[in-house]
Assembly symmetry: C2
Homo-oligomer: 387 residues x 2
């Protein structure tokens, strides 16, 4: 039987979660320690910024051993630890693992970063020989399920955040040969910062970010050679080279006016200007500049709203997939002991008459169970014929 | 499949129920008429003061046929009829039959008069050949269940009403040889009237009832030679002959005072005086009369309260019995078709390997179903060994 002990954002504040975080070394050490217990036949320690979860498999005593050892390992009193725990057992633990692996338990529903984290947690234990048959089946099936949801639905490909939508436009912008030059006006603001990070997650893009020279407390880390920081006042000087210009300041004035832009840039070149500020940063008239396309905040908000609807539908589809795969995993775990017992079972039933067996069943099971057995019998008739 | 169409106190007022009542002749006629329908293989018409219910068994069309014919037979528009109906199908119809037969659907929970009514309704149909295999099984099992509840629990033997409790004291009063003489002071009042009826339900009891001579509108029917009516003012004249005196008037004065009683009755004779009036009718001092026992309303209210607790416990026990028997009935109905198909099933499964069958099952059923099948397989192993 598998169990899961979870300290997550559902019950524990960030302070508690930090206190209960495991480094890679600690994972290895804790797994080793727990595997010494007789009751335990498998341990996986998963630790992300939102949760610390320990999956353990073994006898009924396994979950008790886990709690005591975890409290001891982290120097927390067991009584206190219990306050922050969610405990899952058997099928509910399997269901929880599937939810976590598929991103259904994440803050951003359906995000797929978690899958990599679960996989790596699993690998650490696997390398230590701390994954038993049941755990192996369940984790592998959970990974397969997450992959199927990723492939067969658009759940993880349907962003809702403006920053992601803007970055997607950058990636989609077609430019033959050479790298894309992107200016981010207001790069040190919250939105500008997130957009910049998103853009730089793919190669072939250079960012020129503007900063206000009078801001002496500039703390943004500018990493790598793909980002250049320029003074806000000099922005027009660089604009002609740009394929894309994004503006995300909180100021009341236009950061790009039609007059100045027309003076500075070569007409005819294909350019994408994106204004995600409220109130608007870019003069709507700049659309008159030849080759220039302008998207404003309304455009992205409509996209986000449409994506919300899509995401809800994809979520339904993903749920169907998850239930199906979860059911298959439970079946495998439930069925497994019978494979080993097959010869013994064959002997028991050898030469027994079907009617004798059916009457025994009728006299011993409940009506609900009898209905399932008879339905299965009917099914078998046709499955055999098909097979 | 069995269906039930019910017009009961749950949805229909007494007027509607009366309009939908069936006399014995009508029952016979209606059963005959409905049995002519191809879809119908069984009909039972049950009619009590609280409900008219028609049980029908046959194909899916049977319930539709029943509704149309019932509306036609009673000259009620189908749309109007539908307003007052409860329809039960399959297992819910079986469950309803059991509830009704066991008195769980009655105004007085657990009363057993209904059982006789259901039995006689069934007999009428049985005599007409209008009870098919399924109905026969279900009604017989419902009767057996009701009988088991009556025998194994104290549900129907635990009265809550003061009138029944008073009557029970009369029945329990021991008198060697001869009949019991009971005086009911205030016999024409509601309580006095009910008590008198209850008392007369058993033989060997004579009632002397007092009435006020100034009440010219006396309408109580005095039936049989076991009841004598006397003037209230003459009550003390008769009291010496009495074994039991019950007083249930609504007046403010004592109906029995100690002084007058002491003058009129022979001391030493065993007597039971029961005062169920509020305010009290009998002078508490009469207990001083030799041989006399006095019970007042507090005594009966305590009895009733204790019985309520007993009844609730008995109800739980009765429910357990009903669920058990209901489950057995459903199993028999579900299983029956397979008995006829046994030879065909044997052929289908002849020479099939157990592991082949189990893998087919695992691949086709849900995890919930698989668990039931495997649990049944485990059960069979031990049932065979026991058998």
């Amino acid at each position: 039987m598998m169990y899961c002990m979870s300290v997550s954002h559902k019950k524990a504040s960030v302070n508690i979660r930090e206190r209960f975080a495991f480094s890679e070394e600690e994972k290895v050490e804790f797994v080793e320690r727990l595997m010494k217990k007789e009751a335990v036949t498998g341990v996986v320690v998963l630790c992300t910024c939102n949760r610390s979860e320990i999956y353990v498999s073994g006898t009924k005593q396994a979950i008790g051993e886990l709690q005591r050892e975890a409290a001891d390992f982290k120097g927390i009193r067991l009584e206190e630890l219990l306050k922050y725990l969610n405990i899952y057992s058997g099928e509910s633990a399997i269901g929880h693992l599937f939810k976590v692996a598929c991103g259904f338990d994440s803050m951003v529903l359906g995000e797929d970063e978690i899958l990599g984290q679960v996989k790596s947690a699993y690998e650490i234990s696997k390398d230590q020989g701390a994954v038993d048959y049941e755990m192996n089946v369940l984790f592998q099936r959970a990974f397969a399920c997450a992959k199927r949801i990723k492939t067969d639905t658009n759940l993880s490909r349907t962003p809702l955040s403006i920053a992601t939508l803007v970055a997607n436009e950058v990636f989609r912008f077609e430019k033959e040969g050479g790298e894309k030059n992107v200016m981010v006006i207001g790069m040190t603001g919250k939105m500008g910062n997130t957009i910049t990070k998103n853009i730089l997650s793919k190669p072939g893009i250079h960012v020129t970010g503007t900063v206000r020279s009078h801001k002496s407390d500039l703390t943004m880390e500018v990493k790598g050679d793909r980002v250049k920081v320029v003074d806000y006042r000099d922005r027009y000087q660089y604009m002609d080279e740009m394929d894309i210009v994004i503006s995300a300041t909180s100021g009341p004035h236009y950061t790009v006016t039609c007059e100045e832009l027309s003076e500075q840039v070569t007409p005819g070149k294909r350019r994408l200007f994106m204004d995600v500020a409220v109130p608007v940063d870019m003069d709507p008239k700049i659309e008159e500049v030849e080759g220039l396309t302008l998207y404003n905040i309304d455009y992205f908000e409509t996209l986000s709203k449409n994506n919300t609807e899509i995401k809800l539908k994809e979520l339904d589809r993903a749920n169907v997939i998850m239930k199906e795969d979860l059911d298959g995993a439970i079946k495998e775990v439930v069925f497994h002991p019978y494979i080993r017992r097959m010869e013994e079972l064959k002997k028991t039933f050898a030469g027994k008459r079907l009617d004798t067996l059916l009457f025994e069943i009728r006299d011993h099971v409940s009506s609900e169970e009898l209905k399932v057995v008879l339905k299965t019998l009917d099914g078998l008739e046709s499955w055999i014929k098909e097979g």
